[in-house]
Symmetry: C2
Subunit: 230 residues, 2 copies
């Protein structure tokens, strides 16, 4: 029996290792592989901890109860808003990158499914308000930002590990840029007000800088930081 347990554990190590290396070798942003990894490391206890953490703010608690969705997003319409608004800048980013609007399908009625759907459909809004690009360094910065804000999240740590290992094996010349991005993302994520649960569709018409200021998302002190350590 003990031997069987041992074989089973070895097999799980092989499976998780294989899944992890598959995602390391997959192109950045391979959402099918990311989904399979999320399934593999899915741990209800860790998810429960994240929900408890997010419930500590009234904004998070309210979002987990009311579960506001982004709904159907009309990018062309948002693109008619003034150029300094969140709506315009978001739509411009989506259109320029040929990204489809987020999926507005109904989801199962529980906080965990909402957590996944909400984080998925607001991912590009987080890119816009944090100012992190959608290149490799920008994704790493945003992953570190998620680790600070969606705490303590196994998924985002594993995603960050994946991208660091990808840097070691495929993009060694970008190592310094990626480490700087990680540092910036973590520090900005700790400094900023919580982004989880914000009902972004009510903010399309506000100036982006107003939203960033409200959420304490200005990056200025990180320029200073870079000069400290550069």
């Amino acid at each position: 029996m003990q031997r069987f347990q041992h074989v089973k554990q070895q097999w799980q190590t092989v499976k998780l290792g294989y899944r992890f290396m598959q995602i390391v070798k997959a192109p950045y942003g391979d959402f099918a592989e990311i989904g399979r990894l999320a399934q593999e490391i899915h741990d209800p206890k860790s998810l429960q901890k994240v929900v408890e953490f997010l419930s500590q703010t009234s904004q998070g608690q309210q979002a987990l109860q009311e579960r506001p969705r982004l709904g159907s997003v009309d990018l062309q319409k948002l693109h008619q808003l003034p150029a300094h608004t969140l709506g315009y800048i978001y739509a411009d980013h989506m259109l320029k990158n040929s990204f489809s609007p987020p999926n507005s399908q109904q989801i199962a009625d529980n906080p965990y499914t909402f957590l996944g759907a909400h984080l998925g459909e607001t991912h590009d809004i987080w890119h816009i308000v944090t100012g992190f690009d959608t290149n490799k360094a920008g994704e790493i910065a945003l992953q570190a930002f998620y680790i600070a804000q969606i705490y303590p999240s196994q998924f985002w740590i594993v995603m960050l590990c994946k991208n660091l290992l990808k840097t070691a094996l495929e993009d060694l010349d970008l190592c310094s840029q990626h480490m700087d991005a990680l540092v910036t993302g973590w520090l900005l994520g700790k400094q900023a007000r919580p982004l989880f649960g914000i009902d972004w569709k009510t903010l399309w018409e506000l100036p982006l800088t107003t939203i960033q200021s409200e959420l304490n998302l200005q990056n200025k002190q990180f320029d200073r930081l870079a000069s400290l350590s550069g």
Copy 2:
């Protein structure tokens, strides 16, 4: 033939994934597993880049030519030095942790073997001068410090990924502490003068604070950093 290539690649993914997960599951500081991982990711081109990077300073270039070794270290004798010296503080650290003095065996006559031997035998001195503890957070800080100083090193990035993944799977409660450690290590590694190639045995009798000041290793600005983002 193409199919054979594909099977071979799949097998390499399984092997590297398995090796990586073995070290993730191994206790911290399992040197046998670390050695096996180093073998698995050994890439002569990346090592050559590190040697070129280290040769950019006269200190590094000289060390790679003259290859100064720490030699046989008498911890009891160093422990007789005044309490503020590098020698005393190093010996005290080694004795309190029941660490053996570094191996002083002769090595093959080339810069790559020297690089490994030098980094191995000075590891605990780096702990002392950086002020990073030998607990999990301290090792992570030192790994990020190595990434900044021994650039661009696949090995240290992989070690850092390993410890982050270990945090996700085993020590989720330490996530914040480990991310802070990573950030501090990277920034201090960029700020400090290069540590590689220093002939530490000539410095045992100097006050630790003098050495830290000379190497720009004071941590003060990072206290400020923590307060910025805390």
